[in-house]
Every structure is written in C-alpha cells, then in structure tokens.
C-alpha cells in the first residue's frame, strides 16, 4: 500500500487541454443553474392561471379585477345558485359517463387492433389520429353537422343535448385510451394469450384474467387522459349541445359574455384542481408501491 502511494505521486495527472479540448465544466455548471431556473419559471407560467384562479377564489368582491378582502365564503356557498349547480352536475355526468364508456370500449378496441392484420392496423391508426389532432372547432362542427342530418329523421328531432354531447366526448376520448393501451399490449409476451387459450381458458376469460391485469397501467393512464380531456373541453361541447343542456364550460363562456363570472366558479375550480392533485398523487403512491413489489419479484 505504502509503495503504491509513493508511486502515484510520480504519476502526472492528465489534463483536458493536453488532448485538444477546452475545459467547460464551469460554464456547464452555470448553465445547469440557469436552465434549472428557466424550467422552474416555465412550470410556474404553466401554473400561473391556476394560481390566479386560486387567488380569485378567496376574493370577497365579485369584481374579478380587484381584490377586496380574504374570504372563504365562496367555498361554503358554492352551489347556492342553481344555475351554477346544474352545469357542474352535467359536467360530471358527461365526463364520468364518457370516460367510463371510452375506457371500456377503447380497451376492447385496442385489443382488437392489436390482434388484427397489419394493413387494418395501419388504416385504423391513421383514422384514429383524426379525432386526436383535428381542431376542436372542426371536430365540433363535424359532429354537429352529422347530428343535424340525423335530426331530420322523424322522432329524433330533439336529439341535441345530453346524447349528442356524450357521443362527441366519447369520440375524442377513445383515441386517448387506445393510444395508452396499445403500447402496453405490445409489451406483452405474444405467447401469453396462446398459452392461456392452450390451458383451456375461454377467450373472454383469458382476456379478463390474463391480458387486462398486465395492461392495467395503460388503461388507467388512458382513463386519466380521457377524463382530463372531457372535463376540460369547451369547443366541442359548445357545438354539440342543445335544448338547454349546459356544462360548466358553456356556462362559463356565457357568463364571460354577460360579465357574470362570480368567484364561486373559481372556488369550485380550485377545489377540483387540488382535489385531483391529491387523488393523482395517491394513485401514484399506490402504483409506486405495486411497482416496487413487482420489481422485487423479478
């Protein structure tokens, strides 16, 4: 040991400049700090509107432009006005229904796509991009036009409202579920299904018992995406509703027009944001624990 240490003192330490490179590690460190600050600023900007909404929710004045006094009044009296309670209820009904149906149907469709021929696969993936990438306004108008034609069928005159909005929401939620589930299916061992069938399971049972548990994280991600998109949607809902069926975004839009935006909307929104944050963190915690368990098994 002693011997080694002595030897090492004689050995020169190589320098970057000896090999034609400049040493940028000070610059790299500065950039690291600067870029981290930039990222924090960008995330802050993404959340800026949320923070302002939160501030507005504690404002005692109904004038959205001026802060008067701190109050929690709007949180406790959120649904006092029925004209607000109804759109909120409609929003939840539409979003939950559209999300659940889309998740179930989307998962089945994804399984179908996974097991279909390559040509069909490519064709359906191309079409599947249309609802995803199409402009909301074009999608909204498109579905409205289709239902306007359907409306001409006797007996279906009053179709606009809940059913049309639900179909429209399913239309743009399905691709999100499919795109989240498909990669998980691809990761599956291709022999898994054959093995299950070989062991005598009926196809439907094999699907539920073997495939679904392995793609559950994709299904869950699809569900969250679908709900987010449905809950956030304004334009498509705007064009596909009718007969007095309003959801929250349509209500907000007309309130903005009438300058009638009251702070209880902001309280509601803040509650939803922080509530969902808690739920999603809980899901993450739960999934994380499961992940560790699985990891140890391997």
């Amino acid at each position: 040991m002693e011997n080694n240490v002595q030897n090492l003192n004689d050995v020169p330490v190589a320098k970057l400049s000896d090999y034609g490179y400049r040493d940028y590690h000070v610059l790299a460190k500065i950039w690291k700090v600067v870029s981290t600050i930039l990222v924090v600023v960008i995330i802050f900007m993404i959340y800026l509107s949320i923070l302002i909404i939160a501030l507005q929710s504690f404002n005692s004045s109904s004038d959205v432009l001026s802060f008067n006094k701190f109050t929690t009044y709007w949180y406790t009296h959120m649904f006092d006005e029925p004209s607000f309670a109804t759109p909120v209820r409609n929003t939840f009904i539409i979003s939950v229904a559209a999300t659940l149906i889309s998740t179930l149907v989307g998962t089945l469709v994804a399984v179908g796509i996974h097991y279909s021929t390559k040509r069909f696969h490519q064709k359906i993936m191309l079409l599947n991009n249309i609802p995803l990438l199409n402009a909301d306004i074009v999608t909204g108008i498109s579905i409205m036009l289709i239902f306007s034609l359907v409306m001409k069928i006797p007996g279906l005159e009053y179709i606009f409202g809940f059913p049309t909005m639900l179909v429209a929401h399913m239309y743009f939620c399905l691709p999100y579920v499919i795109l989240n589930v498909l990669p998980k299916l691809k990761e599956l061992d291709s022999n898994m299904m054959d093995a299950a069938l070989d062991l005598g399971l009926k196809p439907i049972r094999a699907l539920i018992k073997v495939i679904v548990p392995s793609i559950v994280s994709g299904i869950l991600a699809g569900l969250i995406f679908a709900f987010t998109m449905s809950f956030d949607d304004f334009v498509i809902s705007y064009y596909t509703t009718g007969n007095g069926f309003n959801n929250l975004s349509i209500w907000v839009y007309s309130s903005i027009g009438r300058k009638g935006l009251r702070p209880y909307v902001h309280s509601f929104s803040t509650l939803v944001t922080f509530g969902s944050m808690v739920i999603l963190l809980a899901i993450n915690f739960f999934m994380g624990k499961k992940g560790v368990k699985n990891g140890k098994k391997h």
Binding site: S49, Q56, V64, V109, I137, K152, L179, L248, Y253
Partner: protein, 279 residues
C-alpha cells in the same frame, strides 16, 4: 383464434367513418351550396362561397392564425425542449408524475384559465390590487390584453405541455449506450447534444409541434378572450359564421383547416407509425 379479437376493432372503424370521414364529405358538399343552416329543401348550388376567401377580414384572420401559431410553436419548441430535456436528465424518472404535473392545469376549465390570464394582462388586476392591499403600494401592470403578446403568451402556456410530453417520450427512447458511443468517439457533451440527441429526438419535436400548431391555429377562445376583439383568428371567423347559420362559408374555412390538419396527420403517421410519441 386471435382473429376473434381482431373483430373487436371493426365497429370502431365504422364509428370513425361516421364521425371523422363523413363530415368532411358533408362539408365539401356545403362548400358548393347556398342555404340557411341545413335547410336542404331550399339549397342552391353555387361557387359564390369562394369569394369570401378574397375578403380582407378573412385574409387578416388567416394571416394572424398562421403567424401567431408559427410563433407559438417556435417558442414552445425551445421552452418545451428545455423542460423535457431537464426532466429527462434529472433523477426524477416517475413518468406518471411528470404527466400529472403537465396535465393538472387542464382540470381547471380552459376558459377560466384564459380569463385568469386576461385578468393579469390588465393594468389594474387581481394581483396588483392584492399586492397593493398587502404592501400599501401603488403597483400597476402594463396593459397587455388585446396585444399580440398576450395571445401568444396564452397560446404558449396553454399548449406547451403538449410539446413537452412527445419530446420527453422520444428522449426516453434513446439508448444510453448510443450517448456513450458519442462521447467515446470524441464528441464533447455539447457536440453529443447537437449531433446525436437532438436529431434522434426530432420525432418528438415534429409530433409536439403539430400538437401545438394545430390547436393554436384553430382555437377561438384564447384569441377572443386575450385578444379582446383586436386580434381575430380564423377560429373566430368560423365561430361567427356558424353562429349566424352560415354553414356554407363556415364549412369552406373549416375545410381549409381540415386540409392543413390532414396534411399534419400524414406527417405524424410517417414519423410515428404507432402513435408512440403522442402521449
């Protein structure tokens, strides 16, 4: 045996034909007709609708739309790449949480969020009055509502998450050993980024750009609220036309947007056959 499952996808393609393909056919038909709403009994065939394209207001709306969405996309690429790259480089590898951070703002209504942004774009707003109350000061913000800046700002902060996710996904797919190979072959960290990482994540940039460009191009709520009538984009014109039951010219403008979108979809389909980058 597996064909049985293949059949599960068949109804969906019919669904897509009805809601994605059929409307385009209806709209192409409406372009050449003149009627109020969908009053099929009184329809006339005409080419007059195309004269609307020469109208100054339409041209300005198109110019605004393309200009602002190109600027929005360019800014989003820079900011989105920075965030995605830093996330990718950090030890924070929980993709689910990253996703949550990026989509959580969407759980507040988009109109409310845009209203909130419009609020602080006023010279006297909720934040200034709040700060003035606390510090007993007299702060005012610059009056930005109604400017191009406010519209671009609103578009960027609303849509930049759609840029971050695809770029992050494409960065995640770069094999660690490819990065090591670059360093091994004599490329410095800087060269490694420009010559290897950036080109290898170009799929994510293309997909993300389309995800930002298309909604920016066609949106009408953000320009309406943040532009407060000064800045008209094509979405606002289409909305107006459909509100006035002018489905024909509305369809014409919508079809123009649809053509841009279909073009984008074919690009997405080329660079990303499986749709892996989108989410």
């Amino acid at each position: 045996m597996n064909n049985k499952f293949g059949r599960l996808a068949k109804p969906y393609i019919i669904w897509l034909y009805i809601f994605a393909v059929a409307p385009a056919i209806v709209m192409s038909f409406l372009i050449f007709t003149d009627m109020e709403g969908l009053d099929l009994a009184n329809l006339k065939m005409t080419l007059d609708n195309f004269s609307q394209l020469g109208e100054k207001s339409t041209l300005i709306a198109f110019k605004n739309s393309f200009l602002l969405s190109v600027i929005t996309t360019a800014i989003s690429i820079v900011l989105g790449y920075l965030v995605a790259y830093k996330l990718f480089r950090s030890n924070f590898k929980n993709k689910f949480l990253i996703l949550v951070i990026l989509i959580l703002p969407m759980w507040s209504n988009i109109l409310l969020r845009t209203e909130a942004l419009a609020n602080i774009m006023e010279s006297n707003n909720i934040v200034t009055t709040f700060l003035n109350k606390i510090f007993n000061s007299n702060i005012t913000f610059p009056q930005l509502r109604g400017t191009y800046f406010s519209v671009v700002f609103g578009l960027v902060v609303t849509y930049v998450p759609f840029m971050i996710m695809p770029i992050y996904n494409s960065l995640e797919k770069i094999d660690r050993s490819v990065e090591e190979a670059a360093l091994d072959l004599g490329l410095t960290e800087m060269q490694k980024f420009w010559k290897v990482i950036l080109p290898m994540s170009s799929k994510g940039i293309i997909t993300g750009s389309i995800m930002v460009f298309l909604p920016s191009l066609s949106g009408f709520a953000i320009p309406k609220i943040l532009g407060s009538g000064n800045i008209v984009m094509i979405g606002n014109v289409i909305e107006e036309l459909f509100n006035n039951m002018n489905y024909n010219i509305g369809s014409l403008l919508a079809m123009i947007i649809l053509v841009v979108i279909l073009f984008s979809i074919t690009i997405v389909n080329k660079v990303d056959k499986e749709g892996e980058m989108l989410l």
